[in-house]
């Protein structure tokens, strides 16, 4: 495994770069960019919710705040503090930089676990030739550096929105599952679900991770290698951590609901909270533009079709859950990555923060996906969309010379790119297993 030179200096540099940008975040107006802050993650809306709470109204009164009450208690008081001549969300930005650092470290730890397991299983299959032929990079280091240096991550960290925290929770869930720490995995999963609902589908990869351990080649290959070994001796689904996970998930969710109901005491309580957070996600009520396609779709679609298409789009995420789980059962970490990518492509209020997470996780599979097709096209596409999208937005909203269709077109392009990325990566991963099998047959 090749260590990355200059890893720690690069990490420090990334953090320093963020800290350097933080004082200019306000003048860059990143916090109100549609690409960065969605109605769910905007810190400005959080400040409004906190202000409403302070003036003894429900934070969900009005349609301003749609985030979690826990974030309100954690970040709310900080948004109110002002230092003369400094942007208002300075403290929050410091917290987000720290959270980003933690996320990167967890990604690195996940990567190291994956690479260890990978090398071990390749050795087990006697494919050491393959290990040498593939450039065995330190996937964790690469992934964490991608995460830290990704402009999307930097923008969403500096641009005062809460998506770094959401990403952190998702990564905690995966890390906890990878290292088989059931309470941690349960905590991450419950919190991530509470924050943004979509990580609920991560339940399957987390359980698979806890049951089978990190990614490995399909068990058929092991059987092929030494038929004498019984099926159970190679890949056992251990129920113990899964049971632990279930119990802990129940405990954490009860605990969180209890905290929330204490926090919202005197107001409408949990039902209102669910209606205003998860209901808001599912109903796509806010039609303000973002980098997705759903806002324009629901702004244009006829009212009597609205319910149908709402169901269609949300079910579209769920449709793929089972086929992917069947095909990628032996690679739960990759499965988690695919789920995250799909949900961030089809979610109702996407932002670049979601892209930051899945692009960072993509780095974990740098060894397997090294020969991915269209990678140059995808790279250029991402750059093109992230340059064109603000231009089109400016033309439409600020100058009035453009049209909503221009901006929507960049959203369509972005959705296409994500489609290509996720399909190609799945295809490549399945191909990788095929190559392993072929090697095994020829060997």
């Amino acid at each position: 495994m090749a260590e990355i030179r200059w890893f720690w200096p690069l990490v420090v540099l990334a953090l320093a770069f963020r800290l350097l940008l933080v004082p200019f975040a306000d003048s860059l107006k990143l916090g109100s960019r549609p690409e960065v802050a969605t109605p769910l993650t905007s810190l400005r809306r959080l400040a409004e919710g906190y202000w409403l709470k302070q003036s003894s109204l429900s934070p969900y009164a009005g349609s301003m705040y749609h985030g979690s009450p826990l974030l309100l208690t954690m970040l709310g008081p900080i948004t109110m503090k002002r230092i003369q001549g400094q942007p208002t969300h300075l403290f929050c930005s410091f917290i987000f930089v720290f959270v980003d650092f933690l996320t990167a470290m967890l990604i690195r730890a996940i990567g190291q676990k994956l690479v260890l397991k990978n090398c071990k299983s390749l050795k087990l299959l006697d494919l050491s030739k393959l290990i040498e032929s593939f450039v065995c990079l330190d996937a964790g280091g690469v992934a964490s550096l991608i995460y830290l240096w990704n402009p999307f991550t930097i923008v969403s960290c500096v641009g005062s929105c809460t998506s770094p925290v959401e990403n952190f929770m998702v990564v905690i869930a995966i890390y906890g599952a990878c290292s088989r720490i059931a309470p941690l995995a349960a905590f991450g999963w419950v919190m991530a679900t509470h924050f943004s609902l979509y990580p609920v589908i991560l339940l399957i990869p987390v359980i698979l991770l806890l049951g089978y351990g990190p990614d490995a080649p399909p068990s058929k290959l092991f059987l092929h290698k030494n038929p004498s070994a019984t099926r159970s001796s190679i890949r056992i689904f251990s129920w113990k951590p899964v049971v632990y996970f279930t119990i802990w998930a129940a405990i954490w969710s009860c605990y969180i609901l209890l905290l929330i109901s204490i926090f919202l005491k005197g107001f409408d309580g949990l039902s209102e909270m669910l209606k205003k957070t998860h209901g808001f996600i599912l109903k796509v009520e806010d039609l303000s533009p973002n980098i997705g396609v759903l806002w324009y779709f629901f702004a244009e679609v006829f009212d009597f079709f609205r319910a149908f298409f709402l169901i269609l789009f949300h079910v579209n995420i769920l449709f793929m859950v089972l086929p992917l789980a069947i095909r990628l059962m032996h690679r739960p970490c990759f499965l988690a990555f695919v789920y995250i990518t799909i949900s961030s492509m089809l979610k109702s209020y996407p932002s670049v923060g979601d892209a930051a997470l899945y692009l960072g996780l993509l780095g974990l599979f740098v060894n397997e996906l090294a020969e991915m097709k269209f990678s140059f096209f995808l790279f250029c596409g991402y750059i093109g969309v992230s340059l064109l999208s603000p231009v089109m937005h400016n033309l439409w909203i600020w100058r009035g010379t453009g049209n909503a269709n221009f901006y929507f077109a960049t959203g369509l392009g972005y959705a296409c790119l994500q489609t290509v990325l996720v399909v190609e990566s799945v295809s490549k991963m399945l191909n990788y297993d095929r190559i392993l099998r072929k090697q095994l047959h020829t060997a």
Partner: protein
């Protein structure tokens, strides 16, 4: 025979007894009711009409028509009225209205020039468009429902789109910002509503004489709609004790045309233009409405003007050194002075009943001296504007300019303060961030708690309710100017929610600024101590709060492309299908199949176009391409354009021609 007589006598006695009882019954029950009817006859329905004219400092004339119909509570009349319009009576009865005010306004009241604090302008300066507020004699739970029905009824009655106030996004329930202690009040405004004759005609229909006689005869449509400001108002007050009172007022600011009145008028521009009713309205007064109890024209000279005339001449005859009235007034009244520096307006009264068809009354004024005066000042002038550019976000700013605070507050010490209540309703698509409320006083930022004494905010719910803000601010007396800013994001609407002229923008209704410390009242007293009974003047006597409506704001919102729904649906669904299909394809693909595919590809590597042609021809022949590939090599071009294909093409062409020529014509 005796038997018969006996029977007859018993019959008579029974009859007498019966008659006696009947008499007792009648006297006991029916008579008192009759007597009470006799008492109630005193309280008859009354109708009074008045017109107040007032020259304004900027060479314009204010004409204020005031009609009042009073229907006392009467159990006998039941649902029948002599004068009171039945439509309104039914409305009051059905919706249990306690108080209602509906105004249609075109133009904006100029508080600096036309009066910022006198009782007349306080009661009649209204925001542009339609404003409606009402309170009901009903429990809190039924009020929203009643309001919705009421808007529909009024909308039908006045030929306007008041029914847009039915939607919960259009009306609000202010607590104390609009009127103190109004828990059951509903308030709605439509700033965009255009006001024209179709609203005036049903309004005039409510009057007993319509516009056929009396003061309303002056309401010549072309002349009144030419004015700078036009506000027609209907106010209902109903209670069990006093009955129902209907006030209808029409306030117009007109610009008199100078050249039409007399040849000897000054035309150098220094003097005020002389005018008369005839020159203003192209109509003259020809007798009062026969049903009216009182019919009167009042002519008011404002405080500042009156005090200037005081300097020239002391008496208030109708011909003096400063001006000359065209008709001799019947009465002259003056404001009772309690303080030397206080209001001293002068009022001339003319009885319309003295005029007739043969002798029309034409009240007018001819100025002799060039006079410059100013109208009553508001303590603080408020105005509202938008900041920011682009269609994503912006800020609302309300500025307060202190003008003549010292006139209003007797104590000029350090501790003195003036209060202002801001009541503002914003539609839901203007998403206000209330935590960004900033207050600047004389350019310096203030902490909110120092200035805001009381605050009631109900934030807007998307597509459900508007945002309402009620703020009580406290300014120190030595303040020069203060500004209040609020940031907002502009919402994005569904295509159907845009009005037909979406690019014009959306209106934010006027905010109302009330000064709870400042009251404006005027009580007139006749110069010759005779009693001056008027329905309009007592209204000036009641202490009216000084208030002002701010400008209506026009917020341009971003529009989507209205012609795109099908394109958007197809594009988005294509992307989804692309994702779904290719993903399933990847998941479904098997190794063996792939190897076979690659093998076959390697064996017969062809160009794209021949391959496509091959597939097409095989489709046309009805054979499967796989078998083709395996069985036969590339078909020659002669076989591709074979006779069979030719026949098929000809057949299709013939069918098409047949279809085109025969079937379509029939």
């Amino acid at each position: 025979m005796a038997e018969l007589r006996r029977r007859f006598s018993t019959f008579v006695s029974v009859f007498i007894i019966f008659f006696f009882f009947f008499f007792v019954f009648f006297s006991a029950i029916v008579l008192p009711t009759l007597a009470s009817v006799g008492d109630l006859v005193e309280l008859e329905e009354e109708f009074t009409e008045e017109l107040l004219l007032k020259p304004l400092p900027d060479r314009k004339v204010l004409a204020h028509f005031h009609f009042e119909i009073l229907a006392p509570p009467s159990p006998v009349n039941g649902r029948h009225h002599h004068l009171f319009p039945k439509a309104i009576a039914q409305l009051v009865h059905k919706f249990q209205i306690r108080e209602l005010e509906l105004s249609f306004t075109q133009g904006r009241w100029n508080y600096e020039r036309w009066g910022g604090s006198d009782p007349l302008s306080m009661a009649n300066a209204k925001p542009p468009g339609v404003e409606l507020w009402a309170t009901f004699h009903r429990p809190e739970s039924e009020i929203d429902h009643t309001w919705k029905n009421l808007t529909h009824a009024l909308s039908g009655l006045f030929c306007s789109s008041i029914n847009f106030l039915e939607s919960s996004t259009a009306f609000s329930a202010p607590h104390w910002g609009f009127q103190p202690n109004s828990s059951v009040l509903r308030y709605g405004a439509l700033p965009r509503e255009a006001v024209c004759t179709e609203n005036l005609t049903p309004w005039l229909k409510l009057l007993p004489c319509r516009d056929r006689a009396g003061v309303a005869l002056l309401l010549n449509r072309p002349s009144i709609y030419r004015g700078h400001y036009h506000s027609q108002k209907l106010r209902l007050i109903s209670s069990k004790l006093t009955g129902v009172k209907l006030e209808q007022t029409l306030t117009i600011v007109l610009h008199p045309s100078v050249e039409r009145y007399g040849l000897d008028s000054f035309s150098d521009g220094s003097t005020q233009p002389s005018w008369s009713l005839n020159s203003l309205f192209k109509q003259q007064l020809m007798g009062k409405c026969a049903l009216a109890k009182d019919s009167r024209v009042l002519f008011e000279l404002e405080h500042d003007l009156a005090s200037q005339i005081d300097e020239t001449e002391s008496d208030y005859t109708w011909r003096n050194a400063a001006f000359e009235l065209s008709t001799m007034p019947d009465r002259v009244a003056r404001v009772m002075k309690s303080l030397p520096n206080q209001d001293s307006s002068v009022l001339y009264g003319f009885e319309v009943s003295k005029s007739s068809d043969s002798m029309p009354m034409d009240v007018g004024i001819k100025w002799k001296l060039p006079l410059i005066w100013s109208s009553s000042h508001a303590p603080v002038y408020a105005s509202r504007f938008l900041m920011g550019s682009g269609n994503e976000r912006g800020s609302i700013a309300i500025t307060f300019q202190s003008s003549h605070l010292d006139e209003w507050l007797s104590t000029g010490s350090d501790g003195c303060a003036v209060h202002a209540v801001v009541f503002q309703v914003v539609p839901w698509y203007v998403k206000v961030y209330y935590h960004t409320l900033n207050i600047f006083m004389d350019g310096k930022r203030q902490t909110i708690s120092d200035v805001v004494k009381r605050m009631k905010i109900s934030p807007s719910e998307d597509k459900l309710s508007p945002g309402t803000m009620e703020l009580m601010l406290e300014f120190p007396c030595d303040m020069q100017s203060a500004t209040l800013t609020l940031d907002f994001d502009k919402g994005f609407l569904h295509v159907d929610e845009y009005p037909p002229d979406a690019n014009q923008g959306f209106d934010i209704p006027s905010a109302l600024i009330t000064y709870p410390d400042c009251y404006s009242s005027r009580s007139y007293q006749t110069v010759d101590t005779s009693h001056f009974k008027s329905s309009l003047l007592p209204k000036f006597k009641e202490g009216n709060l000084v208030q002002s409506y701010t400008e209506v704001l026009l917020v341009p919102l971003t529009t989507p492309d209205f012609s795109m729904p099908y394109n958007v649906i197809t594009f988005t669904c294509t992307i989804l299908a692309l994702y779904f299909g290719s993903m399933l394809n990847v998941l479904r693909r098997r190794v063996g199949e792939e190897e076979r595919l690659s093998k076959s590809k390697a064996s017969e590597r062809r160009g794209l176009i021949p391959l496509l042609l091959l597939k097409l021809s095989s489709k046309l022949r009805g054979k499967r391409p796989e078998t083709m590939q395996h069985s036969s090599p590339l078909p020659s071009s002669s076989s591709f354009f074979g006779p069979k294909l030719f026949i098929k093409v000809v057949l299709v062409a013939v069918l098409a021609i047949f279809w085109n020529y025969y079937l379509k014509d029939s």
